[in-house]
């Protein structure tokens, strides 16, 4: 869920309706019995030229995790597929018989595989396959851009520079270290992960990058093009580029008995690549012929008023919070003074930014890095009400900003704003220039080619960088540590006291107590203004008239792929 699908591009988004909270009864397995029809083909019209990757160890964007997880890649645990924030993020077993068994201090976790899980060639999926898949996270060449929680958490010694002494299954260096950290039972059914610290939510961690890969197959980067399926579908065709498509057909070796999680209703899935966004949404709006079972994963700003003001699209449009908090990271190495950072936050016209992103379709004003739809880890920080010493309206308060700057003894502040170049971000940059000018701060926009954006800003950051972050699973441990300690620390925060408190909270076994600790830390981070949180993002999408069910799956902010169907 972490990264934006299109680099730094912040998809502009839609309407005033709050989360779809129909109390639809998802059964314990996540897949409800509810009224879907079997058969047919569901089609996704994608403007991308390919899926970023099909490699189970590299896939990291919410939409792809949800889609591939529903079709070809099973994991030990998964999220219940149901409407609602809490229901849609409830952990349920997938390949495992339950959601995992921790040791008393949560430094080791065991999962037992169900009977009858097989690969598409009919051979059984074993504990060794899960261990092998996990070990691929250590392959640095392969896993670049993918989740690396195995590297972070498994009890494997590190070198002085912090890199792991295990270099992955292809290189093989340090294999014995990995084999003692991840062990299999005699019957090859139960896998045990030995961790280097207490990780109370490790059973959530295993949804990311811990999917099995056939052990013994030499699987480097080329595996991304034709991975072995263990889900209800398998790859029949995968061609990239405009006109290309990914075709998934039924995997005859998948047994329903081994998989209570997926309904697997349609006979096939097709992803069509390289379809202009505007063309794709027009086709789904028309919804004629085969397009009645098609869907798009985003809508352009211009079509939002059309889709959401016309009753004919009711029942097939989705407007929900996505996973992302949109913010501007303030580089603490170049802006070390807290008051200066607060002045920037106070001067900013967040209302104009919101309007530019799509107004009420774009989301809600953010008050911190942690977003409300994460669940119990969110509490209002009071950032714009009290933390800056006065209430700051969404239009910003230039006078307060000037006061903060003079308290800091700074005048004629000049800052550079890095952003991934799109037309919308160019306009956002103009808003930054205009609104900070009111407080006497000069902003110099620095547009960066969007495919290179994060590479450039991590290498060579200026004072302000636009960005966005979504949690990897519903715990602030996947928000505050990566943003302000290590991982996605654009702000280059180096605050040892804060880092120590974060570590303590990460390892807290009592979930309620942990949530309270996160509330405090989120508030501290907001007050220190390491980032200026501007928006809790929303996301809009539209499906054809014969696609169901239509709701946003809170775990990934995506379609509820595992239970979707095409009506005849």
């Amino acid at each position: 869920m972490v990264r934006f699908r299109r680099g730094a591009v912040i998809a502009a988004t839609a309407a005033a309706a709050s989360l779809v909270l129909a109390a639809c009864g998802g059964s314990g397995g996540g897949s409800s019995e509810g009224g879907g029809e079997e058969g047919g083909t569901l089609t996704i019209l994608s403007s991308a030229e390919q899926l970023l990757t099909l490699d189970p160890q590299v896939v990291y964007t919410g939409e792809d995790l949800a889609f591939l997880g529903a079709t070809i890649q099973r994991s030990l645990t998964a999220y219940q597929v149901a409407p609602g924030d809490a229901e849609g993020t409830t952990l349920v077993p997938d390949m495992a018989t339950d959601t995992g068994t921790p040791s008393e201090d949560a430094t080791s976790w065991s999962f037992t595989l169900r009977d009858g899980i097989t690969w598409e060639d009919g051979s059984p999926v074993t504990c060794a396959d899960v261990a092998y898949g996990t070990s691929r996270q250590f392959d640095t060449g392969l896993a670049e851009g993918g989740p690396v929680y195995a590297v972070t958490y498994l009890d494997i010694p590190t070198n002085e520079d912090g890199s792991s002494q295990y270099l992955g299954p292809v290189d093989g260096t340090g294999q014995e270290l990995f084999d003692s950290a991840v062990t299999c039972s005699e019957d090859n059914k139960t896998i045990t992960f030995n961790l280097n610290q207490p990780v109370p939510d490790f059973n959530y961690t295993v949804t990311l990058g811990f999917s099995p890969v056939p052990a013994g197959m030499t699987t480097g980067e080329e595996y991304a093009n034709k991975p072995m399926s263990n889900g209800p579908y398998k790859i029949q065709e995968y061609t990239k580029g405009p006109g290309g498509k990914l075709v998934l057909v039924r995997n005859e070796n998948w047994s329903k008995d081994s998989d209570p999680y997926r309904l697997a209703l349609p006979d096939s899935w097709v992803v069509n690549f390289g379809i202009e966004e505007t063309v794709g949404e027009q086709r789904v709006m028309q919804s004629s012929g085969e397009d009645a079972t098609a869907m798009v994963q985003s809508l352009t700003t211009a079509s939002l008023p059309v889709v959401f003001e016309d009753a004919q699209y009711e029942g097939r449009r989705i407007d929900a919070f996505d996973a992302y908090t949109i913010y501007a990271a303030l580089n603490t190495e170049k802006l070390p003074d807290e008051k200066v950072r607060q002045a920037i936050g106070a001067a900013l016209d967040r209302e104009a930014l919101m309007l530019n992103a799509g107004g009420t379709y774009a989301g809600d004003y953010a008050d911190g890095a942690v977003k409300p739809n994460i669940g119990i880890d969110y509490a209002p920080t009071g950032l714009w009400e009290t933390l800056l010493g006065a209430e700051v309206p969404p239009t910003g308060d230039p006078e307060l900003a000037k006061k903060l700057l003079s308290e800091a003894g700074v005048s004629n502040l000049e800052v550079t704003l890095d952003y991934g170049q799109t037309e919308d971000n160019d306009k956002a940059a103009a808003i930054w220039v205009e609104s900070l000018a009111r407080a006497g701060i000069t902003v110099k926009p620095n547009p960066i080619e969007r495919g290179q954006y994060y590479g450039v800003v991590f290498e060579n950051p200026n004072e302000i960088m636009l960005g966005g972050w979504g949690p990897d699973w519903p715990n602030a441990s996947t928000v505050l540590p990566p943003l302000f300690v290590q991982g996605w620390n654009l702000s280059r925060v180096n605050d040892e006291a804060f880092a120590a408190k974060v570590k303590e909270a990460s390892q807290e076994v009592d979930r309620e107590k942990q949530a309270t600790m996160w509330h405090e830390l989120s508030k501290e981070a907001a007050q220190k203004m390491w980032i200026v949180p501007t928006r809790f993002g929303r996301d809009q999408r539209l499906a054809g008239t014969k696609v169901g069910p239509i709701f946003s799956w809170a775990a990934y902010g995506s379609y509820p792929y595992p239970i979707m169907y095409a009506t005849q």
Binding site: A302, D349, A352, A429, A430
Partner: protein, 336 residues
């Protein structure tokens, strides 16, 4: 039929004999410039395109005055003019109203008219400067190449081939970041000053060989003419021959080339800013306006048509002007 015949047709006098004589005398006494000018004054295309261009130039030069008279400016956000849901301009035609005659931008409410006029300034500044650079470089190297012949000509010729072979649009885009930074390091103010300088320099540097080839061809034939030979035999210095004897005879092709090149650069500037290698926000430009219009034009066609139409008018007017000037300066051209 030559020019004389045309002028005699134009003269509808009761006593033809006298008038033809008078006309011949008059023609005999006129310089090339005078002839060209008299032709241009009778060319309706020239007059109309000139008027259009003068109006456009005035609009660009007086943009700050015009916008302040209208009470608009290209930078300030107008949240009243856009809808809270979606940021869509309130009202038809992109929110066109008394306050915003051509409507406002989606999402920010900035005034389209003001942005158009300021975008025009940037466009014309870049196009004019790049053209001047091309004329200076092209004329200089063209004369040197054509007059010197020998190895200098050979070397310059291959050098021009080399430059012409470069895929220059690609290079402009690929190198914009690093070279703009280099200009900043050289002391040109950071931001738009550097970016505009970069565009002018690159357009100029990749554009001069075309003109240089034309000039070289002219010089090759001019240097064999009697007036040059007599200057040489009188012992005139090479610079004098180049710049006092040959150069004045080159103005016609240079002027024609420049008027045809200018509209090309206006369009190229729009293309480059469309591709993101233009001025920085919040500064407006044609290309950026067109790029932004793409996602909205099914709902608000004026976003595409307003800058598009102005761009077309500028380019067509310059092209027609260039054609007229070429016809007027070309002694061999057939006149209507």
């Amino acid at each position: 039929m030559g020019g004389e015949a045309v002028s005699s047709v134009d003269v509808s006098a009761p006593e033809p004999g006298v008038d033809v004589e008078a006309a011949e005398r008059e023609i005999a006494g006129r310089s090339l410039t005078q002839i060209a000018w008299s032709r241009l004054r009778r060319d309706r295309t020239f007059i109309i395109s000139s008027i259009v261009l003068i109006v456009i130039l005035l609009l660009a030069l007086l943009a700050p005055l015009i916008t302040s008279l209208l009470g608009v400016d290209p930078y300030s956000l107008d949240k009243e003019a856009i809808d809270e849901a979606g940021g869509k301009p309130v009202g038809p035609w992109g929110g066109a109203s008394v306050e915003h005659p051509l409507g406002v931008e989606w999402g920010t409410g900035r005034d389209i008219l003001a942005r158009l006029l300021y975008g025009l300034r940037v466009s014309l500044l870049i196009a004019f400067s790049a053209t001047v650079l091309v004329v200076v470089l092209g004329t200089l190297f063209g004369i040197i190449s054509g007059y010197s012949r020998g190895w200098v000509d050979g070397f310059l010729g291959r050098f021009m081939d080399l430059i012409l072979a470069f895929p220059f649009l690609l290079i402009i885009i690929a190198l914009s970041g690093s070279l703009t930074q280099r200009l900043t390091d050289l002391g040109i103010p950071e931001g738009n000053a550097s970016r505009i300088t970069y565009l002018i320099l690159v357009l100029g540097i990749f554009g001069w060989p075309y003109l240089a080839r034309i000039v070289r061809g002219e010089v090759l034939s001019l240097r064999e003419r009697e007036f040059v030979e007599s200057a040489v035999s009188l012992g005139a210095s090479t610079p004098r021959i180049l710049f006092r004897e040959i150069l004045p005879n080159l103005w016609a092709p240079i002027l024609v080339y420049a008027t045809l090149l200018l509209p090309v650069y206006v369009a190229v500037e729009a293309v480059l800013s469309f591709l993101g290698v233009g001025v920085l926000p919040p500064e407006p430009s044609f290309g950026a306006m067109l790029a932004d219009s793409v996602q909205y034009f099914t709902l608000i066609p004026s976003y595409l048509f307003i800058p598009g139409t102005l761009l077309v008018i500028v380019v067509v007017a310059f092209n027609l002007l260039g054609d007229s000037v070429r016809d007027a300066l070309d002694p061999k051209a057939a006149h209507r």
